[in-house]
């Protein structure tokens, strides 16, 4: 018995000894890495600090390794997308079992982004709906920024006026911002019953945010939407460019210094439609052929590793004259002549101040001058003056000049270690508009407004999956002598890997139009409240978006029975967007559909009406395909809209009020556009020049388009408003020298 016990003791001792020995050698660490929700974390790195010992967690989050380190040691756990964890361990040979929790790191790429109301086109790492090249290669766009946006949901197909008509809003209700500051006269000056293009080349911008509602507190004075454009940084290389097309010539030079810290450049373009009009018949008689001169200059300087100063300036001069048959008489004509001068200058500086702060400082100045002469003419194009209505008001001159000087500053302060940011700042805008109007008498009107705004916005990231944006904006207009303060709220919640839902709410104010203030200088701000809910799934091969919105207009301007803010209205609808780059090999396409229900009572409307710039159903299809063998990219787009209402709103002398004398709906709108880009220089290695041929045709099927109707003074005649020509053809050749762009094109199409 004793013997056995002794033996037992011996074995125990031996065992003890052996384990002691093992303890001197190695310690086993094992365990599991989990998220707070209990999901495994694979691929995480575990390391005993300052030693080679460690492991990588497997697909179930488990790990096991041996270490020869002893005593108090620091275990470090890191995994991409998670906050690192450190744990002090006592290593003495006995196995260590660990269950560690890794929390998700809040990071910009994974974090949810508020998408309610806005479409982003940019080249950031985050997947966006459009990239900046999409703006250029949309078939119907003809290199016009806003035309490309018309293939997105929420916008109307308007051909008789310039501007973006967003969700039941008029063209004036959407504003454009370049590098943070408001742009007056983003479009070429308005023409009677014809839409004009944007003045700015899409190649100038690297980032585009198009908000069809619920936009940030940093911007204001747009009831329905905001287009926020960011200009490009330094070019990759120095280069010269030359363009020849069916409508004009252009040339430019960009210089990048050797250190790649600064660049400067200048471009000039001349557009003259004379040759084109000889070939393609236009409906109006252009007695002065449209001719445009445009020159621009820029410099961009890196002020530090993180800062950049950008300057852009353009000067434009253009003229045209259009003669159309007068609607009130069979024998007379109406001749409209316009000369326009425009200067736009923008200087913006961005800099990081320390680790937490960012500063933006922007200033811009613009000056626009329109000289308009409108004449009544006979069949021999001789000026006529008939001193009775309606003819008396058809002979007039307008000299309108408007300038805008502004300064804007925004500070960004990072909060904590995550992505939460507090943004605040202010802006000051000085508008000066001088209009001289001359018909039988001469009137002069000068309007000045010192507009000030302050804003603050807080981006709160509660987790990677839940974010909120809380903003407020205070505005004061010296012209109205009124102030307003508004809330802006939005939030986003991530549903699964790629899906997310967002909500947005905001109140938006806008000054009445200049001519409305002439009727009553005491008008108040017009007002709209937006409610938006959005669901989006996005990954690198497809995007799906659905959005519902409700918009309530208040304080809209009425011009009758009295000029006041008694107008109101609403807009509601649902919109879908689908983009797919994968299903059909090599083909990238997107489809958008919008349903809009809107009515408003404003201006001289005799009641609540669906405005003539709102169609109930709008849809677009955009397709792009690159055929490698032919070195050619084919782009097509098809847009459709149901008919829009038109009205003859007449003053009834007997009833002493405006009545609806006639109304109807236009034919549906259809437009198929094609464009082809041919790149013959691709693949010629070492080529010093690069050529792109562009051919585009708008309205390939020559479908009839009617945008609205004009009525004669007596209401007996109505005439459709149609484009100047059914179709538009463009052919151009663009060279760049000193730069081999082959690689770019190849990579963009792989």
């Amino acid at each position: 018995m004793i013997k056995i016990r002794a033996l037992n003791h011996l074995i125990l001792l031996l065992l003890l000894f052996i384990s002691q020995l093992a303890a001197l050698g190695q310690t086993t660490l094992r365990g599991r890495l989990l998220t707070p929700k209990g999901k495994p974390v694979p691929g995480a790195s575990l390391a005993i600090k300052d030693s080679y010992d460690g492991a990588t967690s497997d697909s179930t989050g488990r790990f096991q390794f041996e270490t020869t380190e002893k005593g108090r040691q620091l275990l470090q756990v890191t995994a991409i997308g998670y906050k690192p964890v450190e744990e002090w361990l006592e290593l003495n040979g006995s196995p260590v079992d660990l269950q560690l929790i890794l929390k998700e790191a809040i990071d910009e790429l994974k974090a949810v982004v508020v998408t309610a109301g806005s479409f982003e086109a940019s080249d950031t790492k985050r997947t966006t709906v459009l990239s900046s090249i999409d703006v250029v290669t949309t078939a119907s766009a003809n290199a016009d920024v806003t035309a490309a946006l018309r293939t997105l949901p929420g916008t109307q197909q308007i051909g008789e006026r310039e501007g973006l008509f967003v969700r039941g809003g008029s063209g004036e209700e959407a504003r454009v911002f370049i590098d943070g500051t408001l742009v007056n006269n983003f479009f070429y000056s308005a023409l009677p019953d014809l839409a004009t293009r944007g003045r700015f080349s899409p190649f100038l911008f690297k980032g585009t945010v198009f908000s069809s509602g619920g936009y940030s507190a940093l911007y204001g004075q747009a009831l329905s939407g905001a287009l926020i454009l960011e200009t490009i940084d330094l070019p990759d290389q120095s280069s010269a460019s030359l363009g020849v097309s069916s409508v004009g010539l252009s040339g430019g030079y960009q210089h990048l210094n050797k250190k790649k810290t600064a660049s400067w450049g200048a471009n000039y373009g001349y557009t003259n439609l004379y040759p084109y009009f000889q070939l393609v018949k236009q409906r109006p008689d252009y007695f002065r052929i449209p001719a445009f001169h445009g020159g621009d200059a820029n410099f961009r300087i890196k002020t530090s590793k993180t800062g950049i100063l950008k300057f852009y300036s353009t000067i434009q001069a253009n003229q045209l004259g259009i003669r159309t048959p007068d609607i009130d008489s069979g024998s007379l004509k109406n001749a409209f002549g316009l000369t326009n001068y425009n200067i736009y200058t923008n200087l913006a500086w961005k800099e990081r101040l320390g680790k937490k702060w960012k500063l933006f400082l922007g200033t811009s100045y613009s000056l626009n001058r329109d000289d308009i002469e409108n004449r009544l003419q006979d069949q021999d194009n001789k000026d006529q003056f008939i001193p009775v209505q309606p003819y008396v008001s058809k002979s007039f001159d307008v000299d309108a000049s408007g300038s805008l000087l502004q300064v804007k500053t925004v500070f960004d302060r990072r909060l904590g270690s995550g992505l939460s940011v507090l943004r605040f700042g202010g802006e000051w805008l000085y508008f000066k508009d001088n209009v001289k109007f001359r018909d039988t008498i001469s009137r002069n009107n000068l309007q000045e407004d010192q507009f000030k705004a302050g804003f603050a916005e807080l981006d709160v990231y509660i987790t990677n999956n839940l974010a909120a944006k809380l903003g407020t904006r205070v505005e004061h207009s010296s012209l109205l002598n009124r102030a307003n303060i508004v809330p802006r709220l939005s939030m986003a919640y991530k549903l699964g890997e790629k899906g997310q839902a967002s909500l947005a709410y905001g109140i938006f104010f806008q000054k009445p139009e200049r001519n409305q203030l002439l009727l009553n200088p005491d008008l108040r701000f017009t007002k709209a409240a937006h409610y938006i809910a959005n669901y989006q799934v996005i990954n690198s091969s497809y995007t799906f978006r659905a959005e519902v919105f409700y918009k309530k207009y208040e304080e809209l301007v009425k011009t009758f029975p009295s000029a006041d803010n008694s107008g109101d209205g609403y807009a509601k609808g649902i919109e879908f967007f689908w983009r797919d780059k994968k299903t059909i090999e090599g083909v990238d396409y997107w489809v958008s559909y919008s349903y809009l229900d809107t009515k408003r009572d404003y201006l001289n409307f005799p009641g609540s009406l669906q405005p003539n710039f709102a169609a109930n159903h709008t849809a677009s299809l955009v397709v792009k395909k690159f055929i490698t063998k032919w070195k050619t990219q084919f782009n097509a787009s098809y847009s459709f809209a149901t008919g829009r209402p038109y009205y003859n709103i007449r003053f009834d002398q007997g009833a002493n009020k405006f009545i609806l004398a006639d109304q109807g709906k236009t034919i549906p709108f259809n437009n198929l556009s094609l464009s082809v880009n041919f790149l013959p220089a691709i693949g010629k290695t070492g080529a010093k020049s690069f050529t792109v041929w562009v051919l585009s045709i708008n309205n390939v099927l020559n479908q009839n388009q009617i945008f609205n109707y004009n009525y004669s003074y007596d209401g007996l005649t109505r005439r459709p408003i149609r484009p100047a020509a059914n179709q538009f053809f463009f052919i151009g050749c663009f060279f760049s020298f000193g730069v081999d762009r082959s690689q770019d094109v190849i990579n963009s199409n792989l």
Partner: protein
């Protein structure tokens, strides 16, 4: 007495230093050998972590960070879920920056990895990213070639990129084969600065060359 103690300490110090460097050599050689089969075994992420541990422990060697970056960027290039590529490539860049700092600047081998990182970012969304990453990827290769004309790796990567580029764009199998043959000839001539310096790429170059024929 003091002197003896000092000498002893010195001896012990140098002994541990020697032991340390032997340990480093051994560990590195073993891991570098493992790299050959890592793509097939799906072992790249784990190897990346292992190299990083060695690098963090060593503190003044650029090669372990270089290999950690290489293994990470290979992981990024092999990743099928494109949404995961950017963070992995960013991680590779962080490691490569550390290698660069320890190596006293970006040498030819480091620029090769920078090029691969740019390519990884490019693959996420080629159409939208060519401006930024397409150009920088080839610029890094050119730099690597200029810094060390005997380095076969930039040429191998150029051949591989030609392999994936359509003929109409100056790529194609014939063009790729030309470059790859040159690269393989250079691999045969190439003498690494030490046992631990990079030698990878020849097998892959031969694989692509075989595909060209």
């Amino acid at each position: 007495m003091k002197q003896t103690a000092f000498l002893l300490l010195l001896m012990m110090g140098s002994f541990s230093l020697f032991a340390q460097s032997e340990k480093y050599q051994k560990a590195m050689q073993q891991r570098i050998a493992e790299m050959e089969t890592a793509v097939q075994n799906g072992n790249m992420p784990a190897l990346a972590n292992t190299f990083e541990r060695i690098a963090d422990a060593e503190k003044n060697q650029w090669l372990p960070y270089y290999y950690a970056a290489y293994c990470q960027v290979m992981t990024a290039l092999l990743e099928q879920d494109k949404s995961k590529v950017d963070p992995i490539a960013d991680k590779a860049e962080v490691l490569l920056k550390k290698a660069e700092a320890l190596a006293g600047g970006a040498n030819s081998e480091i620029n090769v990895i920078y090029s691969m990182i740019a390519t990884a970012h490019l693959t996420v969304d080629p159409a939208a990213r060519w401006m930024q990453y397409g150009q920088s990827s080839s610029a890094f290769l050119e730099k690597a070639k200029a810094q060390d004309p005997t380095n076969p790796r930039p040429l191998y990567l150029e051949g591989q990129s030609k392999f994936y580029t359509p003929e109409q764009f100056g790529g194609g199998k014939a063009a790729a084969a030309q470059v790859l043959e040159k690269a393989i000839a250079m691999f045969d001539q190439f003498k690494p600065a030490s046992e631990l310096h990079p030698t990878w790429g020849k097998a892959a170059a031969q694989y692509f060359l075989a595909q060209c024929k």
